[in-house]
Amino acid sequence: MSDMPMVRADGVSKSFGSNEVLKGISLTVDPGEVLCIVGPSGSGKSTFLRCINHLERVDAGRLSVDGQLVGYREKGDKLYELKPKEAAKQRREIGMVFQRFNLFPHMTALENVMEAPMRVRGISKAQATARAEELLARVGLGDKGDHYPAHLSGGQQQRVAIARALAMEPKLMLFDEPTSALDPELVGEVLDVMKGLAKTGMTMIVVTHEMGFAREVADSLVFMDGGVVVESGDPREVLSSPKHERTKAFLSKVL
């Protein structure tokens, strides 16, 4: 168990029509590890994250989470596509946080957090409420439970979104540029919540342009460009002395 990686990608490839977006991504993420993915726009970072929870289908290569193949079942030497129900079951174990929050606008913060545990896990309303209140308190929004998303700041909305993902008790959390849509003064409060989460030992994959966060929190860093992993390693090392020209060019622009 301890030597089995939480995420293992082996030559993961994905095309949209003739546009090959991922060209053989290979990497592993150990349990409790925080991996940051950086790279220019269009390099396939979001697509890779979306493959991990099967929002996109992988065309070639193998991708597994916690030892389980994502989206397929292997029987003999054949792969069988999972039924929607089975795919949904895999997704429960993986939390995802989006750049644009995607909170449900017709529900209060508390209802946003309660919805999936009640509908998907089938826990009682009382239990879901208690758990949601606890999670909102954990992201510093204990007093905002009855607010609708429209009445919350961007930073508060993103923290609700994190609480919503955590409510499903995932073993892996995916963050797709969680602070890119925020005003600069609100970035810190979201990063603080993520730092706290990393300290609890949550396995996290974070696509971000926040190099300070990568340097401070990440255990490893991957630089992606044009659908391939160009360089990876210890974040402090990669950020201070990149080996590849493309990494250097990218970092000189963002740092």
Binding site: P84, A88, M96, F98, R119, H147
Partner: protein
């Protein structure tokens, strides 16, 4: 003109010195008291319109052809109110079936299955591409085409064969004809509503492990109601009037049919047209009031979504849980 304005505001400033003396401490600034812009053409057009309208009313009240005594006599006639009830029933039943069928067609059109999608498209093509009047005549003749309802294997002697009595009941035929036609329009309204919901909503729900059915019923459909309800109100009003076309089947127990039948005997078509119109107007007015309140309620949901508005929530007046 500008000189005039300036004089006026200067005067008002002088006349209320207390308000201008301390503008920075939060007291009200001076109200603008400008001379209103005049619209001579507007006034002229209004006067002409009112005169024409009054002349028309006076003239109409004196013309015997309108048969006002007959209007008064028949407006509360039992046969007329029975017909009005039939019209209401046709409207309500047809709309309910059309909404359910329209939802189904909308979902079919958004389906990833190309066959399902094409079938829905074909349905819309046929039912929106032919006149409702022609469709109603067709449904009236359907009993001639399908004389019996056969159950069994295709191209073999049927196991059960029952006479198609259903197709002889003109009331049911009318509802079938009206609702199948309306479903095509409802499908487009529902589809527009579903497409108006941000794709990220479906994605977030899916990522949480919710099934497609849960995502639709809990997340997408409730948010699409804001877009679906106002045009559906229009469709109800439109359906109420379209029911007068059931004469094509022919069904003659509806409001317009009854008024026609009466006038065929009394030879007073004009007063009975007025009687029918009064009832149609009454119903559409009631529906318009209902629609006004529905739209107000659902536009409040939009106001809620303004990102720059940081008001405390009003409680549970928005959202499905209420």
């Amino acid at each position: 003109m500008t000189q005039d304005d300036r004089d006026h505001s200067a005067a008002s400033t002088v006349s209320s010195p207390s308000t201008t003396s301390s503008p920075s401490d939060g007291s009200h600034p001076v109200a603008i008291k400008a001379i209103k812009l005049r619209h001579p053409w507007r006034i002229l057009i209004s006067v002409v319109l009112v005169i024409l309208l009054v002349l028309f009313v006076i003239d109409a009240s004196q013309r015997s052809a309108y048969g006002w005594p007959d209007v008064a006599k028949y407006v509360f006639d039992r046969r007329i109110s029975q017909g009005a009830l039939v019209t209401l029933q046709l409207t309500v039943y047809s709309m309910i079936i059309a909404i359910v069928l329209g939802l189904l067609l909308a979902v079919m059109r958004l389906s990833p299955n190309p066959v399902v999608k094409s079938v829905a498209w074909l349905y819309l093509w046929v039912f929106r591409g032919t006149p409702i009047y022609v469709q109603l005549v067709f449904w009236g003749l359907v009993a001639l085409i399908y004389k019996t309802i056969d159950i069994g294997l295709p191209f073999m002697q049927p196991w059960i064969s029952i006479p198609n009595n259903l197709a002889l009941n003109v009331f049911i035929i009318a509802i079938v004809g009206l609702s199948l036609n309306e479903a095509a329009y409802m499908a487009e309204i529902v589809r527009a509503g579903l497409l108006s919901v941000d794709r990220g909503q479906e994605e977030a729900a899916t990522a949480l492990g919710m099934s497609w059915g849960q995502t639709m019923s809990r997340i997408v459909v409730p948010q699409s109601m804001r877009v679906i309800i106002p045009p559906t109100g229009n469709e109800v009003i439109s359906m109420l009037k379209t029911t007068s076309l059931v004469a094509a089947i022919p069904l003659t127990t509806d409001l317009y049919g009854v008024s026609r039948d009466i006038s065929a005997v009394t030879f007073t078509p004009i007063p009975l047209l007025i009687v029918a119109s009064i009832w149609y107007l009454l119903f559409t007015s009631i529906l318009m009031v209902g629609q006004y309140f529905l739209e107000k309620r659902f536009s409040r949901g939009v106001g809620m979504r303004r990102p720059d508005k940081k008001v405390q929530p009003i409680g549970n007046d928005v959202g499905g849980k209420g």
